[in-house]
């Protein structure tokens, strides 16, 4: 099958590409036009895959890019919390999805999988696993959650309107890599690494390894029922259990005290204030903090029936740590304080750099460029 994947440079999209290739499919990566990127291929997970440039808002370009493809997996989305990006989240996640499915229909693609999120199934105050039959209720919901609910509605409605089968993939908290930009899921792990108080929260979440989510998407494309939602999750964990796993695998103490939701909100407010001052992205937001105390636990039984399987939460956390350890998001001072468990080192395969000229082998530290106004005869 020839599969087009949007968002292939993201964590989930990249793993979808790898899983598709591993399953013997042909892959085309749909990426937004980037004047700085040259060539017709995209390096994803150690593979060079054909690349087609098209913006999510450009149906004509998308149609051209999708022509000849049998399936489409639409992973491109904005995964962010906070009022600053609310409009962008809504536009990309709903309008973009509509445009992509319309283009897929025009290009006569036979099946579409759209990546939404488990948050559309809502959350509970009690530790109870929710399923695809549950929906987001009246609980506190960041704009991102609402955008995902809207995305599902748009995807199903557009698919129905154009007669194209659409399957919805609902990953839970996806941990691992590779990633270019830090997503809020891996930021959960990062926050603990940077937290000097090593504190935790009430409530919990379901974590899943990005590799399993990638394979799950392929299973849904091949076997999923049109119009159905499929949760792609792993293990349900309390925040304390998750933080304990992080601490154990990173060689850190804790977790100690369980902070109340108000503290999380206050800290998030401080983080947003500082990010505003320093013109950076906050590591957490008040919107995200509003979810503290609830249980985002889910069952993936429906996907299991299609052959989907997820590795233990410990492996997902190990993968997250392995990628964070080589990410610039983890400051050097924090990285040097970690005592990473061998499982973490084993969670990420090393990929050798392209062989350079012999002179570049283990180069010496770069000298500062000459600023002197030099003139040679």
């Amino acid at each position: 099958m020839k599969i087009a994947v949007t968002g292939a440079t993201g964590m989930v999209g990249g793993q979808v590409v790898s899983a598709a290739l591993a399953a013997g499919h042909e892959v085309v990566a749909i990426a937004r036009p980037d004047p700085e990127r040259r060539g017709n291929t995209l390096r994803v997970g150690g593979h060079d895959v054909p690349r087609a440039a098209a913006a999510l808002t450009d149906t004509a370009s998308l149609t051209r890019a999708l022509r000849g493809c049998d399936g489409l997996i639409h992973c491109a989305a904005v995964y962010a919390f906070g009022a600053a990006r609310a409009a962008e989240v809504d536009q990309v996640n709903t309008d973009g999805t509509r445009a992509v499915i319309e283009a897929a229909a025009a290009a006569e693609v036979s099946r579409v999988v759209v990546t939404t999120s488990s948050v559309t199934c809502g959350s509970s105050l009690l530790p109870r696993a929710r399923s695809e039959d549950d929906h987001l209720g009246v609980e506190p919901a960041p704009a991102y959650y609402a955008s995902k609910v809207a995305q599902e509605e748009v995807a199903l409605e557009t698919g129905q309107r154009h007669g194209i089968p659409v399957v919805l993939a609902l990953p839970t908290v996806v941990l691992g890599g590779p990633f270019i930009r830090l997503a809020p899921s891996n930021a959960i792990v990062l926050r603990y690494l940077l937290d000097p108080t090593r504190s935790t929260f009430a409530g919990g979440c379901n974590v899943v390894d990005a590799r399993d989510v990638g394979a799950g998407h392929i299973a849904l494309l091949e076997h999923g029922s049109p119009g159905e939602r499929y949760l792609l999750g792993g293990e349900d964990l309390s925040w304390r259990m998750l933080h304990s796993l992080v601490a154990d695998l990173a060689g850190l103490p804790g977790p100690f005290a369980e902070m109340p939701a108000a503290s999380a909100w206050a800290l998030s407010a401080a983080a947003e204030w500082w990010a505003g001052l320093s013109d950076s992205t906050p590591l957490t937001t008040r919107e995200e903090a509003s979810t503290v105390g609830r249980f985002y636990w889910y069952t993936s039984a429906r996907a299991h029936d299609l052959g989907y399987a997820a590795r233990p939460a410990r492996a997902a956390v190990a993968a997250s740590l392995a990628w964070l350890a080589v990410s610039p998001d983890l400051p050097r001072w924090a990285r040097e304080g970690l005592r990473l468990h061998p499982e973490v080192r084993a969670a990420r395969d090393l990929v050798g750099a392209p062989l350079a000229a012999a002179d570049d082998l283990s180069p010496r530290p770069r000298r500062s460029p000459p600023a002197w106004p030099r003139r040679r005869r």
């Binding site: 080589v326 001072w333 050798g352 750099a353 082998l361 530290p365 040679r376």
Partner: protein, 667 residues
């Protein structure tokens, strides 16, 4: 009994410029080609024009033609508002013609440059020097006897630095030593006809009627004599001290009276020590230099912040002339130096990206070590290998199957007070792919906290690497061996020692690189530590092929000096404290080292630090002024510069090092 050494230096007392010719004649030197006179032009105490003119006349008389006189514009001059060598020369009275009518060219030696003709071991290797200076048949340096707040005094070596542009990240003392070693002047003259004395005579002139001249065939001898005339230990100058260490004491005898000049005095050692501590940070050194004395005649106006600092600092330096008056200056400089030390300690522990990288020379002569010393390095380290082989490896408990070989196992023992250790990691990369990307020969520079250094691959006696049978079981494992010499600098270890004044670890090593089909190894032995930071730092780094991966092993014997503040603590008597501290320090260092090896394999950036200060970058006070201006504007002030607020028009007319005038536009 009179010395039989050849005459190298003549000190003339009580004379005038007319004594120059006879003094040179006594040295027996003869020249007859293109001559370059590198003269101290720095304001406010340039060399006196009569001395230079007399020298030019003598060179012409000796048959030298053409004769050029000049220097290079350095940050010292730019920071004090001087923008051209020609202008400095004019202010020094050097206009291109001597009173006797002999003409000479006034040149900016920094305009035409060439790659420094120096060996790889030199800090100037890969840098540029003045083409005129390098090509001159006769090189002459003319300094002036002045005292200096940081160095005690300055004469020929300080002037010699004008033969090359400043080298970012390099200690000027290393540059001076290498210029002296590889592009030395044939004649060195110290103009002490009117020495400038006091706490900082170079910047705050206090001329005395000293009527002395020093003429030498060796700049080091000339500076040694100048130090004696000024009543200062010659090694008070870091430039001279470093050159003495690199090249040895000047040979030849000095003729003439070396008693201290009447009225000569310099900064109190305490004030000098505080100034030197502050000047260890090159940005602060520039501010200190620019803010002492001045403004010089004809200089561009200083920025308002520099003007303010100057108004505060200069009176303190002037007052330091008094036997007790140096205390305020010492206190202020010491306070700033302590703040600097605090920021260095913070950067070392928590913000390594802001530590300046270093450029250094090799620091020793590898030719002094016969090939057998290099080739015998594995045998030298063999007893430690045997010791380590008998120790258990510490690994995390309860590892799942298959993961026990991915841990960074460590084993160690103390031997003669030194830590003998082994750490290893199985790197999840094919051996051939790994060694194609990670050169074991560069292994030292891949280690954690590497600040900089120099590695020189040595030619074999037969002209290259040797290929011999290695230790393979079949005897067929062909091994190439390469000898190399290296100097490396690391952040203080453990990093927190920086807060107690710990210095970077600075060690010079002889090394042997061996490459076989299934293993690559670098073995090293420390031969010296220029700053005394290490007694032992010997070891090996080995990459070995395993079934599917690569095993990296570091073995070592290390004993580093503790800062003075820790000298009273006998850690050996407290194993309960020492052992966890030691293990944690090694674990951190080598975990990061192995991470660096993996990053190098993957092509990721891993090095600490930032490029060192570019000598052409604006003075710190200019940056502060811009910052203050932005803050003031942000607070709602009318968009006028700090200069206008202070009644000074400096910023409006600020001109940078390249001669561009900067103005702040309306917002």
């Amino acid at each position: 009994m009179p010395s039989r050494d050849p005459l190298a230096c003549v000190v003339v007392r009580g004379g005038d410029v007319a004594a120059l010719g006879p003094a040179i004649a006594r040295l027996g030197a003869s020249w007859d080609s293109q001559a370059v006179v590198l003269a101290r032009l720095s304001q406010p105490t340039p060399v006196s024009a009569p001395v230079v003119h007399a020298l030019v006349d003598l060179l012409h008389d000796a048959g030298c033609a053409p004769v050029s006189v000049g220097s290079t514009l350095h940050s010292y001059d730019r920071d004090r508002g001087h923008l051209s060598v020609t202008d400095l020369a004019r202010r020094a009275g050097l206009l291109g013609r001597t009173p006797r009518g002999r003409s000479y060219d006034v040149v900016d030696l920094g305009v035409e440059l060439l790659d420094a003709p120096v060996p790889e071991a030199s800090v100037l290797s890969g840098q540029q020097v003045s083409r005129l200076w390098a090509a001159a048949g006769v090189r002459v340096v003319v300094g002036r006897a002045v005292t200096d707040l940081v160095h005690g005094y300055a004469a020929c070596l300080a002037t010699l630095l004008g033969a090359a542009p400043e080298v970012a990240g390099a200690n000027p003392a290393d540059v001076a030593a290498d210029l002296l070693a590889h592009l030395p002047p044939a004649l060195a003259v110290v103009d002490a006809l009117s020495a400038s004395v006091g706490p900082d005579g170079g910047r705050l002139p206090q001329p005395i009627d000293s009527r002395a001249l020093v003429v030498a065939t060796d700049a080091l001898a000339a500076d040694s004599a100048c130090a004696a005339l000024l009543g200062v230990d010659r090694s008070a100058s870091l430039l001279v001290e470093r050159s003495l260490r690199a090249l040895g004491a000047p040979s030849g005898r000095t003729e003439g009276r070396l008693s201290t000049l009447e009225g000569a005095h310099s900064a109190h050692p305490l004030a000098r020590s505080a100034a030197r501590s502050l000047a260890a940070e090159p940005r602060l050194a520039r501010v200190l230099s620019a803010a002492t004395g001045g403004p010089d005649d004809g200089a561009q106006p200083a920025d308002p912040v520099l003007s303010t600092v100057r108004a505060l600092l200069t009176p303190l330096v002037v007052a330091a002339d008094d036997p007790a008056g140096h205390l305020p200056l010492t206190t202020v400089l010491g306070g700033v130096a302590s703040l600097r030390q605090g920021t260095v300690a913070w950067a070392t522990g928590a913000d390594k990206a802001t530590v300046d990288r270093r450029e250094v020379p090799l620091g020793f002569d590898p030719a002094a070590y016969p090939d057998a010393e290099f080739d015998g390095l594995p045998e030298f380290f063999a007893p430690f290998d045997e010791l380590l082989a008998g120790l258990p490896v510490g690994l995390p408990d309860g590892l799942p199957d298959g993961l026990s070989d991915t841990g960074d196992g460590m084993r160690w023992r103390l031997v003669d007070g030194a830590t003998v250790f082994e750490v290893s990691r199985h790197i999840r990369a094919d051996f051939d792919a790994f060694v194609a990307r990670v050169d074991v020969g560069a292994g030292i520079s891949l280690m954690a906290d590497y600040l900089g250094g120099r590695r020189v691959i040595l030619a074999d006696q037969s002209g290259g690497s040797t290929t011999t049978d290695g230790p393979g079981e079949s005897g067929k494992d062909a091994v190439t061996r390469t000898r190399q010499a290296e100097r490396n600098l690391y952040l203080p270890q453990p990093n927190y020692l920086a807060a107690w004044g710990g210095e970077p670890i600075d060690v010079c090593k002889i090394e042997l690189v061996e490459r076989g089909a299934d293993w690559h190894r670098l073995t090293w032995r420390t031969v010296s530590s220029p700053n005394g930071s290490a007694e032992f730092d010997d070891g090996s780094l080995t990459f070995t092929r395993t079934d599917s991966w690569t095993r990296a092993v570091v073995r070592g014997r290390q004993l580093f000096a503790l800062p003075t503040a820790w000298a009273g603590i006998d850690l050996a008597a407290l194993p309960e404290l020492r052992n966890p501290l030691l293990e944690e320090a090694y674990r951190r260092f080598f975990t990061t080292t192995f991470d660096n090896l993996e990053a190098c394999f993957e092509g990721r950036e891993f090095r600490i630090g930032r490029p060192p200060m570019d000598p052409t970058e604006p003075l710190l006070t200019q940056s502060l002024d811009l910052l203050l201006g932005a803050v003031t504007q942000g607070l709602g002030d009318p968009p006028e510069s700090a200069a206008r607020r202070s009644g000074d028009s400096a910023v409006d007319s600020a001109v940078d090092a390249h001669g561009f005038r900067h103005v702040r536009g309306a917002r």
